[in-house]
C-alpha cells in the first residue's frame, strides 16, 4: 500500500489544478482534493502503474467535482480572487482568468487538453463523453476564449 504522503506529493498538484479548473472555487476544490485521495486509498490495489493511476485520478476528480455540495449563488469573483492570489505573470493571470470564466464543460476540456496534454480520446474517456462532444467543446471553448484573448 502506497504511502499517503508520497501519493499526495506525487499527484497533489495535478489533482489540485484540475479540481480548481472544474470548480472555479478554492473552497470547493479543497473538498474535491481530499475526497479524491480518500477514494484513491480504497482503490489503489486495483491500479497498476503511473499512467493507470493518473488516468484514474483524473476521472475521479471529474466525478467528485460533479457531486459536490456547494452554494450556487456563491459569486464567481470570490473564487477568481482566491485562485489568482497565487503569484503569476500578468499574461498568465489574464489567460487563467479567461479560462475560469468559461462554463465548466469547456473549462474541463481546455484544461485537460492544453495543460494535462490529453488527447481527444483520452479526454472522452476521462469525462464519459463521445470524442465528437470533446471536439466540439474544445472548439467552442477556444471560440469563447478568442472573445476575451487574441492569441488562442
Amino acid at each position: 500500500m502506497a504511502d499517503p504522503r508520497a501519493t499526495v506529493e506525487q499527484y497533489g498538484d495535478m489533482v489540485w489544478r484540475l479540481s480548481l479548473a472544474r470548480t472555479a472555487s478554492v473552497h470547493d476544490a479543497e473538498d474535491v482534493f481530499q475526497e479524491v485521495f480518500l477514494r484513491y486509498l480504497r482503490h489503489q490495489d486495483h491500479l497498476n502503474g503511473a499512467e493507470h493511476i493518473r488516468a484514474w485520478l483524473i476521472r475521479c476528480t471529474v466525478n467528485c467535482s460533479k457531486s459536490l455540495l456547494t452554494a450556487p449563488w456563491r459569486r464567481r469573483t470570490v473564487a477568481l480572487e482566491e485562485a489568482l492570489a497565487a503569484p503569476m505573470d500578468e499574461e498568465a493571470r489574464a489567460v487563467y482568468a479567461a479560462v475560469l470564466s468559461l462554463p465548466q464543460i469547456y473549462r474541463t476540456a481546455i484544461h485537460l487538453y492544453y495543460y494535462e496534454g490529453l488527447s481527444v480520446a483520452e479526454i472522452a474517456q476521462a469525462t464519459g463523453c463521445r470524442e465528437g462532444t470533446v471536439k466540439s467543446r474544445l472548439s467552442r471553448g477556444r471560440a469563447l476564449l478568442k472573445g476575451v484573448l487574441h492569441d488562442v
Binding site: E30, R93, R130
Partner: protein, 497 residues
C-alpha cells in the same frame, strides 16, 4: 501563446500546505482498521450539531437571513455516507477488468448478489402502475413522473408519522409494517443506486426542520441509517432557508430544475420539508447519428401539428405489438428505455389504463425479434405534478387533516401545545421532473417535496416494425428491479420547453 501562458498559470498553483497535511492525516486515519457501519463507505461530510431546542411559538416571526457565503454543512444535523460505486475507466482491457472486479466486490458487500425480494418488488411495481395512471392521464400536456422518488418520499413520511397517519401510508404502499417498509426500501435504494462515471442513477433524500422547534432524534437516525437521508435545521421562513433547500436540490439534480427550486418558499411555522431526488443519465448503447436527423411533423392529441427534430435508426431488436399499442426499446449502459406508441386511433390515456400494460412491457417473452425503424424526436420537457389528490385517492388522508395528522414520532407536540401551536399538517405535496433525450443519451431528474406547517389478440404482421413517434407517446425508464420503473412520462409535445 495561450498554452504557454496557461501552463505558467497552472505551475503557480499548488494545494495549500494545510490542505495537504489534512488530507494525509485523513488518509492515515482511514488506513487504520475502524469499526464501520457498512462494508463500503466514503468519507462522510457529516457534521453533527446539537439540535436547537429554543422554541418561541410566535407566529409571524421574521427570521434574519444573515449574510456572507452559505455552506450547507452549517445546517447539517447529519449527512449520509453514500456507497463508493467503482469508477468505470475504459483506458484499456486491464482497466475494464479491474472495474468489473471492483463492481463484483461492491455488489457482494452490499448484498446485491442475491435476487431482490420479488414480493417487495411487486408492491413497488403495483404502486408505480397505480400512481402512474392517476398522475399521467387527463389534460393533453407533457407529464413526467418518478414512482421511485415518490415511493421513497412516502416511506420517509411514514417514518416521521404515527398512528392512523402512518397506517394509511403503509396500506397505500401495500406494506404490512414499518420494519418491512424500511428494510425493503433500503434494499431498493442500494439496488438502484449507480454512479460509475459513465451512467448514473443517483438517489438522495433530506429532511429539513425548523430550528425553533423540538424534534426527536430517533426518526432522524433511522432516516440516515436506512434511507441515506440527511437532516438539516434551518430558520424556516427566511430567504436563507429557502435558498439552502434549493441549493441542496440543485446539487442533486445538477441545476436542471432551477425553474422549480427558485420557487421554494418556507414559512416561519413550517415544521418540516422532506425531499427525495433522483438523477438518471444513460448514454445510448449506440448513439444516434446527428447527420441523419430530419425536421418532421409531430401531431398533438388535439390534431395540431408542430415541427420537431427527429433522430433515426434502424436496428435488429425486439418489439411488442399489442391490440392498442406498439412498443420498442433502446438500451443504455445501465438499463432499458421503453417507448410505447399507441395505435393511431388510441389515446395515450387508454393505453395507460390497460391493466396488463406493465406486465406485458416487462415480460420479455411477449416481445418478438424484429427489425425496428426508429424516428424519435429530440426533446427536453418538464412537468410539475401536485400529489395531494393522488395521495388521497390512495387512501392517505389523515396527514392532511388538522384533527387527525400525527407527526408525534418526529416532533414534540406537547411542547407545541404548551406554546399555543397546533401539531403540523401536511400541506405541500408535489413532484417536479425533467426529461431530456438527444443523440447521445437520455437524462431524467425529479424531486418529490412533502411539507407540513404547525399533502392487442390479432396476429402480428410479419414485417418491419416502424416506431415513428410523431404523436403522443409514453416513455418508461426501467430499473434493475423488475416491474419498478424509475420514470414514466407522457410526451404530448416534444417542442414544449
Amino acid at each position: 501563446m495561450f498554452d504557454d501562458a496557461y501552463r505558467r498559470a497552472n505551475e503557480a498553483l499548488h494545494p495549500a500546505l494545510r490542505l495537504q497535511q489534512d488530507t494525509i492525516a485523513a488518509m492515515e486515519r482511514r488506513k487504520r482498521p475502524a469499526r464501520r457501519r457498512w462494508p463500503i463507505y466514503i468519507t462522510a461530510t457529516a457534521v453533527v450539531l446539537a439540535l436547537v431546542l429554543l422554541f418561541t411559538g410566535l407566529p409571524g416571526l421574521d427570521g434574519d437571513s444573515g449574510g456572507g457565503v452559505m455552506s450547507l454543512s452549517a445546517y447539517a444535523i447529519s449527512e449520509p455516507a453514500y456507497p463508493a460505486f467503482p469508477q468505470r475507466i475504459n483506458a484499456d482491457h486491464q482497466a475494464r477488468e479491474d472495474y468489473y472486479g471492483e463492481y463484483r466486490t461492491y455488489r457482494e458487500e452490499l448484498g446485491l448478489i442475491e435476487e431482490f425480494d420479488a414480493d417487495f418488488a411487486a408492491k413497488v411495481g403495483d404502486f408505480s402502475a397505480e400512481t402512474s395512471q392517476l398522475l399521467l392521464t387527463g389534460v393533453g400536456e407533457n407529464r413526467l413522473y418518478s414512482p421511485v422518488s415518490f415511493w421513497i418520499a412516502l416511506a420517509m413520511l411514514a417514518e416521521t408519522t404515527g398512528g392512523g397517519s402512518r397506517q394509511q401510508i403503509l396500506e397505500a404502499m401495500g406494506v404490512e409494517d414499518i420494519e418491512a417498509l424500511r428494510t425493503g426500501t433500503q434494499a431498493l435504494w442500494r439496488r438502484l443506486y449507480r454512479d460509475n462515471g459513465v451512467s448514473a442513477t443517483r438517489l438522495a433524500s433530506s429532511l429539513w426542520l425548523n430550528e425553533r422547534f423540538t424534534y426527536f432524534e430517533e426518526p432522524l437516525n433511522t432516516l440516515s441509517d436506512c434511507y441515506y437521508a440527511g437532516s438539516y435545521a434551518v430558520d424556516m421562513g427566511t430567504e436563507e432557508a429557502d435558498q439552502a433547500i434549493a441549493a441542496w436540490i440543485d446539487v442533486q439534480t445538477e441545476n436542471l430544475l432551477q425553474e422549480n427550486t427558485s420557487g421554494i418558499e418556507t414559512k416561519a411555522l413550517t415544521a418540516l420539508r422532506l425531499y427525495s431526488t433522483i438523477y438518471y443519465y444513460g448514454g445510448w448503447s449506440s448513439a444516434f447519428n446527428e447527420a441523419e436527423n430530419t425536421e418532421d411533423i409531430f401531431t398533438r392529441a388535439d390534431g395540431t401539428e408542430v415541427t420537431a427534430t427527429f433522430m433515426h435508426r434502424t436496428q435488429e431488436a425486439s418489439a411488442l405489438i399489442g391490440d392498442t399499442f406498439t412498443a420498442g426499446y433502446l438500451g443504455t449502459e445501465n438499463t432499458t428505455i421503453y417507448f410505447v406508441l399507441p395505435h393511431e386511433d388510441v389515446t395515450v390515456e387508454e393505453v395507460l389504463s390497460e391493466d396488463a400494460l406493465w406486465e406485458r412491457l416487462f415480460d420479455r417473452e411477449q416481445w418478438e425479434n424484429r427489425e425496428v425503424e426508429w424516428s424519435l424526436p429530440k426533446f427536453d420537457v418538464q412537468s410539475d405534478l401536485e400529489l395531494q389528490e393522488t395521495m388521497e385517492a390512495l387512501g392517505i388522508t389523515d396527514v392532511f387533516d388538522e384533527a387527525l395528522a400525527d407527526f408525534s414520532p418526529l416532533i414534540d407536540e406537547e411542547a407545541l401545545a404548551a406554546q399555543g401551536l397546533t401539531p403540523p399538517v401536511l400541506n405541500v405535496a408535489h413532484q417536479a421532473a425533467r426529461l431530456e433525450v438527444d443523440e447521445e443519451g437520455i437524462r431524467a431528474v425529479a424531486y418529490t417535496e412533502l411539507g407540513g406547517d404547525t399533502t392487442s389478440d390479432a396476429a402480428p404482421p410479419e414485417e418491419t416494425v416502424v416506431m415513428d413517434l410523431d404523436r403522443p407517446f409514453l416513455v418508461v425508464i426501467s430499473s434493475p428491479v423488475e416491474g419498478v420503473p424509475l420514470f414514466v412520462g407522457v410526451i404530448h409535445d416534444p417542442t414544449a420547453s
